[in-house]
Amino acid sequence: MSSKRLNKISSFFLNLKSQPMEIVLFLCASFSIIILFLMLFFVAREGALAFSRFGSDLLFGMRWNLESELFGGFPLLYGSIMVTFGALIIAIPIGVCTAIFVSEVLPFHIRDPIKSIIELLASIPSVIYGFIGLLLVVPFVSSFFGLVSGQTALTASLILSLMTIPTIVSVSGEIISAVPKDYKEAALGLGATKWETIKTVVLPISKSGILASIMLGFGRAIGETIAVSMVAGNQAHAPLSYLEAVYTIPAFIATHMGEAPVGSMEYSALFGLGLILLIITFIVNTLADIVVKRGAQHG
């Protein structure tokens, strides 16, 4: 470490010393970092036993069986990704179109009420979504497709898409609204129609923000626990059809933690799954952040 750098660091701490309140504020701001590290540490510590014993089988093993001590998480990972992709396929077009429509097309005075309703949609708890899913979507899917049980990957995707749309709308809506007015007016002044302005000015500038909103939606969907565990049917196999039941990682953790004795191999394996999920969401959220920042530099 160069002395210049050391100087900088020591003056930083000296500065803190002369202003006691600043120390408190600084610690509060650093709290999030501390918590994230603790979270990684504790989840990894509890999952270490299973990881050291089964290694990549926890990720790629096909069977989860307590008696034969098999802890393969592949069907769960598969189920999580299947349900998340299903949800995104529905949520992306609806979410992005809504964001464009609300922030570019709608007249000013009705923007806020519509945004508020979408915000309300986001605030509905997942257990209520699960409840609504059981009450309405499950019977609908089973009668529409003539299935014995309406608790399928499709059902979970439908419910999840409802929960992901607000994320996509609010994040990409914010980015779209942030496109400088001058740019749009320049295009309109050159004779472009409103749609041409959206297509050639607004969308290219907000492209990365929209991508980031989709990634955040992915992160939200893959981690969703309660609603999915209520409507997905919870069967740990890796089906090809969306009309079959699936089990996702978070749903599996939620339903199995209660029975797993603390310190047992199953307990550790559940934390191992948790660690996998945590790492996936870390990566996705960090990438989304980078994409937004990079887009902001170009825009």
């Binding site: 709290f31 510590r45 509890e46 309300l120 708890p125 997942s126 955040l216 981690g223 945590l278 969401t281």
Partner: protein, 277 residues
């Protein structure tokens, strides 16, 4: 003319998804309202031991109030640091990233973490206390982001006036900026409450039980909660969804009420703060 018609059709097509969103919300609301008949004043005030929902409602309120009381001050202080003190450097960027990441951690992982750290390591067990701390982690990013925005829009001249009168930096901020930002800060805390009032996964292993004898008498006792009750009765005990209709409706009302209050507060104060225009 031709292109204008084309554009109208395009915009109309763009509007369809919006209508889907609106319909979804009203559909959910309408479905829930069909269960209003299951609610009665007695249901709300009778103990759960006698088939009511009293302990669940109070337990839910205890949980989110405590969590907000913990996350509120930390979040506001963090926001003040980030807006007013933080040097623009690498470390500040890392803090920023960490807040975003914390906001994106799935609630089930927050629950696992809360169980290992608060319930086991710190010895709080399955308790109100463990639930407060766990839920506080979910409110924190919302409060930080909301307060940051509220503090950022306060004109610098407020603070500068106080500084010119000889106030220290902290005095200037706490006496002017913070007071001007107060409505926005309160709104962010309410939004945080709306986010966790119906949270289930995070309190699944940390603070809830399906039935208690009366209300908890200390923070180290477990509580009942509306969300937990709905989930466990449907998933673990296999009850039909209709049997928890009343509880689901109460929870929906609580959460929507908090969100609406936050939205209305925001609109109201935006109009009242002349420096925003």
């Amino acid at each position: 003319m031709g292109s204008q018609t084309k554009e109208r059709i395009l915009f109309f097509a763009l509007g369809v998804p919006v209508v889907i969103c609106l319909l979804a919300f009203f559909w959910i609301a309408a479905t829930l309202f069909t269960g209003v008949g299951t609610l009665s004043p007695e249901f709300l005030t009778t103990s759960a031991l006698k088939g009511g929902a009293l302990e669940m409602i109070v337990g839910t309120i205890y949980l989110f109030l405590g969590a907000a009381a913990i996350a509120g001050p930390i979040g506001v202080f963090a926001a003040i640091y980030l807006v007013e003190y933080a040097p623009s450097g690498k470390f500040t960027r890392i803090i920023d990233q960490a807040i975003n990441n914390l906001a994106g951690v799935p609630s089930i992982i927050i629950g696992l973490f809360g169980f290992t750290l608060f319930s086991r390591q710190l010895g709080f067990g399955i308790s109100l206390m463990a639930g407060w701390l766990t839920l506080a982690l979910m409110i924190l990013p919302i409060v930080i982001r909301g307060s940051e925005e509220a503090i950022r829009i306060v004109p610098k001249s407020f603070k500068q006036a106080a500084l010119a009168l000889g106030a220290t930096k902290w005095k200037a901020i706490s006496l002017t900026t913070l007071i001007a930002a107060a409505p926005g800060i309160v709104t962010s805390v309410i939004l945080g409450i709306a986010r966790v009032a119906g949270e289930t996964a995070a309190i699944l292993f940390t603070s809830c039980v399906i039935i208690t004898r009366g209300l908890p008498s200390s923070p180290l006792e477990p509580v009942m909660a509306l969300s937990f009750n709905i989930y466990v009765r449907i998933v673990a005990q296999g009850e039909p969804p209709e049997s928890v209709f009343g509880i689901a409706l109460i929870l929906f009302f609580i959460v929507v009420a908090f969100s609406l209050i936050a939205i209305i507060l925001r609109v109201y104060y935006r109009r009242k703060q002349p420096w925003l225009h």
